[in-house]
Symmetry: C2
Subunit: 439 residues, 2 copies
């Protein structure tokens, strides 16, 4: 699959029309999130790599052209699509940086047919990666450096592709590992896993199961203690830990019930037995609010598995992202539909101290004390550097997170900083504010 | 990729332990949704094909074994995994059928290591396909046969895999087409597409854009009329329709604002011009509640594009699905964790008239007037029939939809039928209700 059909039909229709009329002027499209969901005070830019990979490979193979012929595209259009490659320029916010509403995550400048064809795929990838990274970042903020986080979402993400994405993006924002083995292999992450209730149930007694697991698996072992009764489960784990000398490399996992109370009880039982180094791991439909509650209650929890509600970004499963034409040829462009007004021109985000951002024009000089967020990442259809590595992205995220004002970090009713418009952008808005004269 | 690492680490750990101990008894796992989300009165079973495909291909290739060796798995385990294939039996509810909470979508019976390894992938695929199919079905119900539906979700689904799934599943529940070209090619769906605001903006005037589009694209043409001002947009479309004689093959699309009022105004303008056959298409962040409002207000809307909120099942982006051990060897199994109690034994769902379901044991005779929902779909690791075709699935859905009681169809606070337990299952529950004696 060469990727050309990974698009909405209207992109192909519009591209066909542009190609047929020889409309080859360079168009600039800006991809940004119009408004943040109510429970998001910031976004973590992500998804750039697969977007650029697709642009580099964009073409129409014989099977795809054949399909388009059967659906009514004419020979001239097919011929033009056969030769089409992405030859444009892309500016983007590097992965891991924190951004806000109205700030472009990415801008494409290319002959209009090419730029238009890219809309669907670019929106898909940047939206869903940014959605998942931003949710994972909230979990990381809630854990407050006191609870280690492991990504457990694979079983209920919206597909395998999403499972890979969330494993990688969770690591980007500071999770220590993932349960997803193939994702760990691909992205060089730490795998983490315990046992399921079914394992305990497959043995005559819970103690038999714990003993077998500790015998069979090398390395640290985590005993799932809530299959039958949590207090009894902890007692059984204590017995096996003592019997096998696992005091330095064991944990108990609690997956149901009142986690604060059960963790305290388990900690007491472990401490009473002198097992101060045995860790407590919790799981079971947790999200950032549950993590905040554990932290606020000073629950003796060492680590947590965060699955479903992270894996689909349950409280905000999408972002209001758009890909808007902002310039065509020499002409800045605006759209005036009610509630959907766009700002004209190729842009830049100038970041000041404390995340005071100025949304300006790409060509204008940075206001004093600011630096630009968008960087050129592709020219003439070729990437300007190798794909982003996770460590670099992680550092960007950590550095931005340190700068984020507290109201943006709040889990409930966060307040995101709002970018100001630069004088130059304001003047351009005024100059292009009116719709074209009626014909 | 041979698929073996598409799993959570703990599945591999447990499988390794079972293999090492020669625990090869057949385990039965039951995959079901514990509770429906508040806004779901029914689920549409989906995702069986990719699940069975994966089971048929399940193996560990050299690269995967090498990775596992590096992460600490020993030689004996690697050798056992190298030879491992899925040799079990699968029963499942055929795609398109309507199911409810607690009813197995699928049951796997296989040597316990094989059955355990399948947990993550099977949960992932059945959960996300069923989530999306069920959301699409609500849109279909809301449209009440009065508004044609087109799937527009690609740009904001959680990945490309999810975009393919939602295009196909929307078609399964009665959508007439999709904007996703590659999905249309793969699944033989009708593509549908209009134009974007950017197209209108790329021309000096809206009328120029409409004229160009109608010239360049053969077949029915849809004019997007809200780029600048909707009323003026309709007037411009009228002009071009008249000029080019498109009265029988044109539509106008309204993508923002008060759709009921704007559609009425557009209909009046079109009718006044004698253009009774020009259709009205609406879009813009719509979901089933918006569709119901259009229908309730008798808005003159012929078709609608349903995108983002369908594409991620925004109000219920996951299901509370589980994969539970219900039998091992000769022994029925239960789990007693608070709020997570499971029912023992391999099951069958017996459907009576009006969707009165009885949840029973697989081996028991169907109660009079009922038929079983779960069918054998795989034996000895081989599928029993070719992959499900969309038309057959669509017929199953239509037939079940006709039977669904009205409270389950409600968009707000739906009431799903609850399956009764058969006497035989009840007896087995009583017999297995106590946890095993403490060691």
């Amino acid at each position: 699959m060469s990727g050309g059909l990974l698009t909405d039909l209207y992109e192909l229709n519009m591209a066909a029309s542009y190609l047929r009329r020889g409309m080859t002027d360079v168009a600039t499209f800006s991809l940004f999130v119009r408004d943040l969901p109510p429970e998001r005070g910031f976004l973590v830019a992500a998804g750039l790599d697969p977007a650029l990979d697709w642009l580099e490979r964009l073409s129409f193979g014989p099977d795809e052209l054949d399909y388009l012929a059967r659906t009514g595209f004419d020979a001239a259009t097919l011929h033009a699509l056969e030769r089409l490659r992405f030859t444009g320029e892309v500016w983007a916010v590097p992965e891991g940086r924190i951004v806000f509403a109205s700030e472009p995550l990415l801008e494409v400048s290319a002959p209009i047919a090419e730029a238009q064809l890219a809309e669907t795929f670019l929106l898909n990838q940047l939206t869903f990666h940014t959605t998942l990274a931003s949710k994972a970042a909230r979990c990381r903020v809630a854990a407050a450096g006191r609870i280690e986080l492991v990504e457990f979402g694979f079983r209920r993400t919206q597909g395998v592709e999403a499972a890979f994405a969330v494993a990688r993006l969770a690591a980007l924002v500071g999770f220590v590992g993932t349960s997803n083995v193939e994702a760990a292999r691909r992205f060089d992450l730490r795998t983490s896993g315990t046992m399921a209730h079914s394992y305990v149930e497959a043995f005559p007694t819970e103690t038999d199961a714990f003993r077998a697991y500790a015998h069979d698996l090398p390395g640290p072992v985590t005993f799932l203690v809530d299959t039958y009764d949590t207090q009894e489960g902890v007692a059984n784990a204590l017995e096996v830990i003592g019997e096998l000398g696992l005091a330095r490399a064991a944990a108990v996992r609690i997956d149901s019930g009142d986690l604060v109370a059960l963790a305290r009880q388990a900690r007491r039982m472990l401490d009473d037995a002198g097992l101060h180094r045995v860790r407590i791991f919790v799981s079971g439909g947790l999200d950032e609010h549950d993590l905040a509650r554990l932290v606020a209650n000073d629950a003796p929890v060492d680590a947590a598995g965060i699955g479903t509600r992270l894996g689909v970004s349950a409280d905000a499963p999408y972002l209001d992202s758009v890909y808007k034409l902002v310039a065509y040829g020499d002409r800045p462009v605006v759209k005036l539909s009610p509630g959907k007004r766009t700002l004209p021109g190729a842009k830049q985000v100038f970041r000041g101290p404390g995340m005071r951002d100025v949304l300006g024009l790409r060509g204008e000089p940075p206001p004093p004390g600011t630096h630009p967020l968008l960087e050129p990442v592709m020219r003439a259809g070729k990437r300007l550097s190798a794909s982003s590595d996770l460590d670099t992205a992680r550092k960007r995220f950590e550095s931005d997170l340190d700068e984020l004002p507290p109201p943006a970090l709040a889990l409930r009713d966060p307040q995101a900083p709002e970018a100001e418009l630069s004088d130059a952008l304001r003047r351009l808005v005024d100059a292009t504010g009116a719709p074209p004269a009626p014909p």
